[in-house]
Structures are given as C-alpha cells and as structure tokens.
C-alpha cells in the first residue's frame, strides 16, 4: 500500500482508538454518577460539577486543537490527533517529534513522505509518553493506601500534605509566568505579557468572588474559573498588541 501521512487507513485506526478512550470516560462517568446517587449525594451539585467542568474545558481543548494544527504540517492530521487525544501534551509531542525528525535529517514543518520515517516518529512519540499508562494501574492503589495511612497517623498533616502538593505546582507555574521577566530591565517590555495576563485572570477571579458575596449568587462561583480563564485569554489579545 502506498504510504501517505493522511492515508484513510490511519484515520480509521485513530478513530477506533479514540472511541475506546471515549468509552472509558463514559464508563467511569456513569459508574461515579450512579455511586453518587447511591450514597445520597446532592443531584444539583453533580449537575453543577458536570456543567462547570464542561465549560472550563472548552478553551484548553481548542488550544489542544491548535497543537494538532501545528504538528499536522509534518506528521499529517491522524498522528497528532491521536497523540494529543491520548496522553500527549503539545510540549512533549513537539519535542519528541522534533528530535526524531532531526535525527532522521528531516525538517520540522515539511511533510514526511516515507513510511519508515513516519513509523520511527510514531514509535518515539508513543514510547516517550507510555510510562504513565504502564505505572498508573500498577501503583495507584499502593499510593492511595499510603495516603490513607498518612491520614490515620496524623489527619491535619495529611490535609496540609495534599494542599502543599497543589500549591507547589501553582508556585512552579507562577515562576514560569515570570521566566523572561529579567529581560524587562533590558528594555524588552513584551516579557511583561504573561504576568499581565495572569494578573487579569486573578482580578477576574476576585471580581467573581466579590459579585458572589454582594449579589448572594452562589452560581457565580461555579463558573468563576472558566470566566477567569477565558477572560484572561481574551485580555491577552489587547495586551499583546500593546506590548508585543
């Protein structure tokens, strides 16, 4: 069979894999929802969780799609579609694909024409990210058991422990936003853009919090994160035009 990066058979294989992944999500969703009703959890809370999660996901999902577009130039549509729908994230996949293309002596951005180069890239991208999928089934029960033990030993510390993990991650992303900040002093004011976007998003979140209190409207809290995310992204456009 003559190879092409957009060969119909690739689309078929990718669609099948993605359907299985979709089935897994639906399966766990239905099971969790049923269990929630069984133990008497509030139905309206579950509905709010669903709508809020769905709304929050739209903008990041579109940005994943932008990643597919970027990688599609060299790899065609099916492979990036698969890699970014299952496990992959744009930064990982770009590096994995980029270094393999480099080793193959090919340019990033030019379409691959040989099947053996394509399969080389596909193997490197797959093996690079597969570790989580191997270890999660093997370790997650043990890790959760460890957390339970910690909780039984010292409940307050176990709460601090879980908060600390997420705060640690937030602080890394805060650092990331300021990674190029030093170059502001050498006159590159565009390095301020990420910081200003982050600030806009934080201010929007504060406004949502205030409105919730003033208007006594709890529903605003449920949509505060999607609002500050999309609002921050929208603000990025004028901020970039201004400083970029």
């Amino acid at each position: 069979m003559k190879f092409s990066i957009n060969h119909p058979i690739l689309y078929v294989m990718v669609s099948v894999l993605i359907l299985v992944v979709l089935a897994q999500s639906v399966y766990f969703l239905v099971r969790a929802y049923r269990r929630a009703l069984q133990i008497g959890m509030d139905k309206s809370r579950l509905k709010k969780t669903i709508t809020s999660a769905a709304l929050f996901t739209i903008a990041p999902a579109i940005s994943i799609l932008v990643g597919v577009v970027a990688l599609a130039k060299s790899l065609g549509l099916p492979l990036p579609w698969l890699r970014l729908s299952i496990i992959g994230s744009l930064s990982y996949e770009t590096i994995a694909a980029g270094s393999t293309l480099n080793e193959l002596g090919l340019e990033m951005g030019a379409g691959i024409s040989s099947a053996s180069a394509f399969v080389t890239v596909a193997w490197v991208m797959t093996l690079g990210i597969v570790i989580g999928l191997v270890l999660t089934p093997l370790l997650s029960k043990k890790i959760q058991g460890g957390m339970k033990k910690l909780e039984n030993m010292d409940k307050k510390w176990s709460e601090i422990f879980s908060n600390a993990m997420f705060l640690g991650m937030i602080s890394a992303f805060l650092g990331y936003v300021f990674w190029d900040f030093a170059s502001v002093f050498s006159g590159k004011i565009s390095a301020l853009i990420p910081a200003l976007v982050m600030l806009s998003s934080a201010v929007l979140m504060l406004i949502c919090g205030l409105l919730t209190k003033v208007l006594k409207a709890r529903w605003i809290t449920d949509y505060a994160l999607p609002i500050s995310l999309v609002g921050g992204m929208a603000m990025a456009i004028p901020i970039t035009n201004w400083l970029g």
Binding site: L17, T49, G175, I239
Partner: protein
C-alpha cells in the same frame, strides 16, 4: 465468607482492565503502521531519538504519578493518565470541582466528584478535538485557529489559567504559599530556566512546598 468489594476496589479493578487494554492498543498503532505499509523504523535515528527524549520523559512521568495520583483520586487518575493534559487541564478541573463541592480527594465523595469532573473534561476535549479535525478536513479551520489575531490568546493559556486558580488556592493557604512562591520566582527570574522547564519544575515546587510546610507545621505555624 467472601468480602464484598467496595466502590473504590471496583474502580481499581476496572481501571487496571481499561488501562492495560488501552496500553496494548496504543502500542499496536505503530506496529500496525509497520505491517500495513511494510515499513520498519530507521533504527539508528530511532535509537538516538529515544536516548535523547526517553530518560527525561520517563523521569518526569514517574514523578508525575506520585504527585498527581493523591490529588486526582483513583478514577480520576486512571482517566487522566490515558487522556493526558493533566497539569494544564484535568488537575485544575478536578481540584476546582472538589473545592466547589467542599469534598476532599481521599474521601469517597471526593473520589466521585473528581472522577465526574475529569470524565466530563476528557469527553468534551475528545469531542472538540475530533470535531475540529473533521472540520479541518473540509474547511480552512486550521488557518483560522492559527490566525495572528487569536494567537496571543492561545499563547497565554497557562497564565490565564493559573492566575484565577492561584487566587482561589493561595488565598486559602497563604502562609504555606509564601516560601515556594518566592523560591520559584527567584529560580525562574534569576537562573537561565526557560518556559519549557515548567514540567520539571512542578515536582521541584511540590517538594519545596512539602518540606517548608512540614517545618512550619512542626513549629506550630499552620
């Protein structure tokens, strides 16, 4: 007497079945390409590329498992490690949902809320990307998504996400946040670290926060 299986046990059982099935399918994909198109990988390039990307990915992957699973819960983890985009999508989504519902990840209610949020997020992502791919085949959606007007918005997704999120979580734990935030700011501003290293720095931030919180807790400051 046979012990009755709890909900959590059944999640672990099903998670393993789904996880290993998907693992097999994902590995079958490049294998199938080889068979269908009668193509073998170029081993030299394959070996060199694997050596350059694998050690770092796997190291980060292993650390991610230990940091994310306690935060995501069992069902959430099984889904997240299949559908990916954890730090920039699944984890914030789950934590926000648990925060709103006022439940903790290690309780059964938390487990359920986290699973629901991550499942919905995975389904919505998969659908949007699939619809997008179909539209790209028949229209010039690709060009629209890459347009210069929209580009800044997508470039700034992470700052826009973590700004709002930081307000929620830092304001609740401000004492614990100060040390890691100062250390991370200093590391990123005054060393040659670039934006690409945030994936590696996240676990470093976690370890710093755990140590500083432990010390503060022992001294009775929290």
């Amino acid at each position: 007497m046979k012990k009755e299986m709890t909900y959590l046990d059944s999640v672990h059982r099903d998670g393993k079945i789904w996880g290993f099935t998907l693992l097999a399918l994902i590995l079958a994909f490049p294998l199938a390409i080889s068979i269908i198109f009668k193509a073998v990988p170029e081993w030299g390039a394959f070996g060199r590329a694997i050596l350059s990307v694998l050690p770092m990915y796997w190291a980060v992957g292993i650390i991610e498992i230990f940091t994310y699973i306690p935060m995501l819960g069992a069902g959430g983890s099984y889904l997240s490690f299949v559908t990916g985009n954890i730090s920039n999508l699944k984890l914030p989504c789950a934590l926000d949902a648990m925060e709103k519902a006022d439940v903790k990840a290690n309780s059964e209610e938390g487990e359920i809320i986290s699973t629901i949020a991550i499942a919905v997020s995975s389904i919505v992502t998969t659908l949007i990307v699939a619809i997008g791919v179909i539209l790209m085949m028949v229209s010039n959606l690709g060009a629209v998504l890459e347009s210069e007007i929209l580009k800044p918005a997508f470039d700034q997704l992470l700052p826009a996400l973590f700004g709002g999120l930081a307000v929620v979580f830092v304001s609740k734990n401000w004492k614990m946040s100060i040390i890691p935030m100062v250390v991370m700011l200093a590391l990123f501003i005054f060393t040659p670290l670039t934006s690409g290293e945030v994936g590696i720095m996240a676990p470093v931030g976690v370890i710093i926060t755990l140590i500083s919180s432990r010390i503060m807790y022992k001294k009775g400051m929290l």
